[in-house]
């Protein structure tokens, strides 16, 4: 349940952004969940539910999984993250700190750990919708 801390981040960021944009009541929060972080969507949704604040009371949460897209800086190979053949310890390390991918994963073509995570690193607030005071 460290998902809780990540959900808190989403809520507080959404609240800040809403404030900046003059949004009084948030109606929708769209969250991207990077595959590398390997988060159970149910647990994450549960945490978000618990963290509702007055201006988020009726917001609809939508989670979208984002595939982990990795690109090797040495040979240019591009591939997709998968935790299928990963032992539990490794999987958990990347779950907590996605950058640990560089410790445990190598480029399937040249075996370098010097790759870029193009997409699907972690949790991102993709967008919010809401109602402004004057509308």
């Amino acid at each position: 349940m460290h998902e809780w801390a990540l959900a808190e981040g989403v809520i507080s960021t959404a609240t800040r952004v809403a404030g900046e944009q003059g949004i009084q009541k948030i109606t929708e929060i769209n969250v991207g969940i990077g595959d590398l972080q390997q988060i159970e969507h149910d647990i994450f949704l549960f945490a978000l539910e618990q963290l509702r604040t007055p201006n988020i009371k009726d917001a609809k949460f939508t989670l979208q999984a984002i595939k982990g897209k990795l690109n090797c800086r040495v040979c240019g190979e591009e591939w997709e993250f998968s935790n299928r053949d990963m032992d539990e310890e490794t999987s958990e390390a990347i779950h907590f700190v996605p950058e640990m991918a560089h410790v445990y994963i190598k480029c399937p073509s040249c075996e370098s750990p010097d790759f870029e995570v193009l997409e699907g690193r972690g949790v991102i607030l993709a967008s919010i919708s809401g109602v402004k005071e004057d509308s």
Binding site: H2, A5, V97, E99, P113, D114
Partner: protein, 208 residues
Amino acid sequence: MASALAIRLKEQGQNVGLLDLDFTSPSSHVILGIEGLYPEEEYGIIPPMAHGLRYMSITFYSQDKPAPLRGADISDAIIELLAITRWGNLDYLIVDMPPGIGDATLDMIRLIERIRFLVVCTPSKVAYETVRKQIKLLHELNIPTIGIIENMVMKPTTYVSERAGEDNTTYLGSINYDPMLEDALGNVELLKKTEFYGSIRDLTEKIC
């Protein structure tokens, strides 16, 4: 230095956290002999207690493997760790920083409001040259420095203390090279008996 300082503050009855941010060369787990500990997951992660300290290190996740992280990765990993770690109530959070002025230093300056720097320097022209640049940057950014501590001193010189004065930084004193320290690594009880730790005790008196 960072590890011993944290241990000493704890000994004085403070609530202390120790965060090792030197991801390519983490060393505090070796110095403190930390083994078999792992953070608890509860609304975030809770750093385990080690010798009375709340202790957090990337080695919980990277184990003893190389962590070939680029600057941007270090930056992301630090932000992730800061976001998920629940330190609880602390009087001090001691952060062992990697050398230089890279992503880790710039991010901590950017993100931690009440940060203060304790600058460690060896008694060498070459080492001071680097330290001078760090101090200059911190001064320019109005980041408080506690001062400079000279470590690994073999024979007394005034080079660093004089430069510190010129650069408007408090010279906090010197710590001798301690040939016994190596054998005490990994054992906190032995560590506390070293001359090195005695110097850390004096240092703590000065700065807290």
